[in-house]
């Protein structure tokens, strides 16, 4: 009798565990109000482990707000959000998630902190506050600096770098957390075409080789439709779709951008843009 019960319980836990490891984000019936206006309405969204998700939508549509909800940073909301299968109210594993904000690079340029110092701060928030960094922390910092092509400027003051270089520093700061879920809010604004290209290659590598689940807010619709596995369009309402070949981008986007939206896009545009896709993890983005 006992043995039988035990087996059943184990089986139950196993299947629960399997489900939680697959579904990284699940949002049900989320509503967000700010100063009396509704910002997000009846959001239902599911993101699976390994998804590479583009979040698009017009300015003020609520993209940043959606990310804030996922980070547990909204006081007034209704609905349920689960992260890695755990209700966000009870979620404590914040070290599994990394986030780069829309205005991360807008800081006081005279702030005395080097690239290596700032990137290492990404290791905080795991373990007890005040713990000393161990060799494993510094090894991770060096590995990510190398991966992001920042080793050569590790001793420079962050404020002295260009916009694109700063961007890479903040991505690095996120990556030293070894996140399973990476949330990026428009991180390529103000970055030149070549650096954007490198940035997107890097994300593809992270997603495909390390299995990191990525949510990227982007206004570059071509990149979203070429490279990602899923698209979420946010304009108070939230629509999402897998990026399958039979999805018509224009009609999908009209749900969020309105009836008069035009988006001329052909799948073969992708080949031209991203012909040199192969990147190795340690190839370094110089």
């Amino acid at each position: 009798m006992m043995g039988h019960e035990l087996a059943e319980i184990n089986l139950g836990q196993q299947s629960v565990h399997k489900e939680t490891s697959k579904e990284v984000i699940s949002i049900e019936n989320l509503n967000v109000f700010r100063n009396g206006t509704q910002i997000l309405k009846d959001v239902d969204l599911r993101i699976n482990s390994g998804d590479y998700v583009g979040i698009v939508g017009p300015n003020g549509g609520g993209k940043t707000t959606l990310l804030m909800a996922l980070l547990g940073n909204l006081a007034r909301k209704s609905g349920t959000i689960k992260l890695f299968g755990t209700d966000i109210q009870k979620f404590t594993d914040w070290h599994r998630i990394a986030y780069v904000s829309q205005d991360a690079i807008n800081f006081d340029n005279s702030f005395p902190v080097t690239v290596r110092e700032l990137v290492s701060l990404g290791r905080l928030g795991r373990g007890r506050p005040g713990r000393r960094f161990k060799k494993e922390d510094w090894d991770k910092v060096e590995e990510v600096l190398e991966f992001m092509g920042l080793t050569g400027m590790a001793r420079k003051r962050v404020g002295q770098l260009s916009g694109g270089q700063k961007q890479r520093v903040f991505i690095a700061k996120a990556l030293v957390r070894s996140p399973e879920l990476l949330l990026l809010d428009e991180p390529v604004a103000g970055v030149d075409a070549q650096n954007q290209e490198q940035f997107h290659k890097l994300l593809s590598v992270l997603n495909s080789q390390k299995g990191t689940t990525i949510l990227l807010v982007s206004h570059d619709l071509a990149v979203v439709f070429c490279r990602m596995s899923k698209v979420v369009c946010v304009n108070r309402d939230v629509h999402s779709s897998e990026l399958t070949p039979d999805l018509d981008p224009e009609s999908f986007l009209r749900q969020g951008y309105g009836e008069h939206f035009h988006f001329v896009f052909h799948k073969h545009d992708c080949e031209a843009d991203f012909s040199k896709q192969e990147v190795t993890i340690n190839g370094g983005l110089k």
């Binding site: 800081f107 005395p112 080097t114 701060l121 928030g125 506050p129 003051r157 957390r177």
Partner: protein, 275 residues
């Protein structure tokens, strides 16, 4: 203390207990001010230091009037003031600069009222207003050491977290760093640092010792680590200079400390321009 002492009497001075107390106390003050001050500058909260220092004047006066150890009453008043200021800021009652102005005035008027009740200024009050490094006794030194250990220990343990919160509080919170606890802890450090500095530089000038070494360091340091080191070097040099000139030539230590740190600041600024 005779006036015919010269720098060559330094080895002999080192043998005196009052000088040893002054030296140890001075170094603890310099280290605490250099580090807390650097964070204050980076957090753009230098006014908090000034406000709390002036508020603590009320505490000193109460202590002298009631015959309680004045640094204890100053500590209580300062801690209440920083907690109230951060509470008002958090609850949106007032911006922190306006609440600082309120507490500064409140603390200072308390001091004035108490002094008038007591029938005027006395010489002891002067030593708290402007410091008197050579009168640090064993009990003062113990107070300074205990407070100093709390300040330096907290920064030693949490400097990375403090740096992260100072750089970007919002993103630190999203990373799971206990931002509110750290900010409250840091406010308390400011109160402690001011109280432990009173005997050395006095209430009026403590903000200068908090801010000037950090400002000089910011011109030279590239990393946070090196900036903190420079701040410590400048702060300690200034305090030692004040102690020496005070002991040998009987010049007010607080005045020399501020002159030295300002001199170092100008020198560094000039050096940076010429470079």
């Amino acid at each position: 203390m005779s006036h015919e002492l010269t720098i060559w009497d330094l080895p002999r001075l080192l043998g005196y207990q009052f000088f040893q107390f002054a030296l140890i106390g001075g170094v603890i003050v310099a280290l605490s001010c250099a580090l807390v001050g650097l964070f204050l500058i980076l957090r753009k909260e230098a006014m908090l230091g000034d406000g709390v220092a002036h508020t603590s004047f009320g505490g000193i006066a109460i202590g002298l009037y009631l015959g309680i150890y004045p640094l204890l009453t100053a500590l209580i008043v300062s801690v209440v003031a920083v907690l109230a200021i951060s509470y008002m800021k958090r609850k949106g009652v007032a911006h922190s600069d306006s609440s600082i102005a309120v507490f500064l005035a409140l603390g200072f008027s308390t001091g004035l009222i108490v002094i008038s009740l007591a029938g005027g200024f006395n010489i002891e009050l002067f030593s708290y207003l402007f410091g008197d490094i050579l009168t640090i006794d064993a009990f003062d030194l113990m107070t300074v050491s205990v407070l100093g250990m709390v300040v330096l220990g907290f920064i030693g343990i949490f400097h990375k977290e403090l740096l992260s919160v100072t750089f970007d509080a919002e993103s630190s919170r999203l990373m799971g760093i206990p931002v509110r606890g750290l900010e409250t802890g840091f406010s308390l450090l400011v109160a402690l640092t001011i109280v432990l500095s009173i005997k050395v530089v006095g209430i009026i000038l403590v903000v200068a010792l908090l801010v000037i070494p950090g400002l000089s360091a910011l011109q030279l340091g590239r990393s946070f680590r090196s900036t903190a080191m420079f701040s410590i070097v400048f702060g300690t040099t200034s305090v030692l200079m004040g102690l020496l000139l005070n002991a040998i030539y009987n010049v007010a230590a607080a005045g020399v400390i501020i002159f030295t740190s300002t001199g170092l600041f100008l020198f560094v600024a000039l050096y940076k321009r010429l470079e």
